[in-house]
């Protein structure tokens, strides 16, 4: 089985959303700023529900926010 990892574009999407802060995004989806930071850094994989909430905040489909890529 090919090893895959979850990556995301949250940092870029926050930048494009008027430099939304991690705290603001956290408040919008119901997690702490540190949890948003951990998700951005790939240290924590969010639940499906939180992933959808993040996508909803940015008005993007889920696969534009999160990608499931093959590890190089």
């Amino acid at each position: 089985m090919t090893e895959r990892r979850l990556t995301n574009r949250i940092r870029m999407l926050r930048f494009m959303a008027d430099e939304m802060t991690q705290a603001d995004l956290g408040a919008a989806i119901g997690v702490t700023r540190q949890t948003v930071a951990a998700i951005e850094q790939g240290k924590y994989s969010p639940t499906l529900e939180t992933a959808f909430r993040i996508a909803e905040v940015f008005g993007k489909p889920l696969d534009e926010v999160f990608q499931w890529e093959r590890e190089s």
Binding site: T32, T35, K43, Y44, T47, T50
Partner: protein, 137 residues
């Protein structure tokens, strides 16, 4: 650093200091049941004092999230640190059952406390590791 992570560090350091003192002091004493109980009570009081100090410090810093509802990452970290401690406790209890046939009561009691402390330290260390380095499923 999230308040819950800081508290996990305080808990871990408090445990190592308090029960480190307990085992060093007890192994250097006459090893009577009364000494065991008194030293363990002192160590537990030290641990509680460190935890209380940590909570007061975090509250004074306005870290209100410590008292709030844990978010999903907090719950995931807690959920994952439990099983590690469980296996340590399980191994310790198996060892103690066998020790009961060959060792005196005070040694078995000390080993039992060591098992409990080791399991709690592993739980706390796993919590810290979960916050610091994360886990990838």
């Amino acid at each position: 650093m999230v308040a819950r992570e800081r508290f996990a560090w305080i808990d871990l350091i408090g445990m190592i200091l308090a029960y480190g003192f307990f085992f060093i002091a007890f192994l250097q004493s006459e090893r009577t049941p009364l000494t065991l109980v008194i030293l363990f009570a002192i160590a537990t009081a030290i641990r509680l004092a460190i935890i209380a100090g940590g909570l007061l410090t975090l509250s004074a810093e306005g870290r209100a999230e410590l008292w709030g509802k844990p978010d999903e990452r907090d719950r995931a970290v807690t959920r994952r640190s439990g099983p590690a401690a469980y296996y340590v406790l399980l191994l310790a209890m198996i060892a103690i059952v066998f020790m009961a046939f060959y060792c005196d009561g005070i040694t078995v009691a000390t080993a039992g406390l060591a098992g409990l402390v080791a399991a709690d330290i592993v739980r706390s260390a796993a919590t810290v590791a979960g916050y610091r380095w994360g886990w990838r499923d």
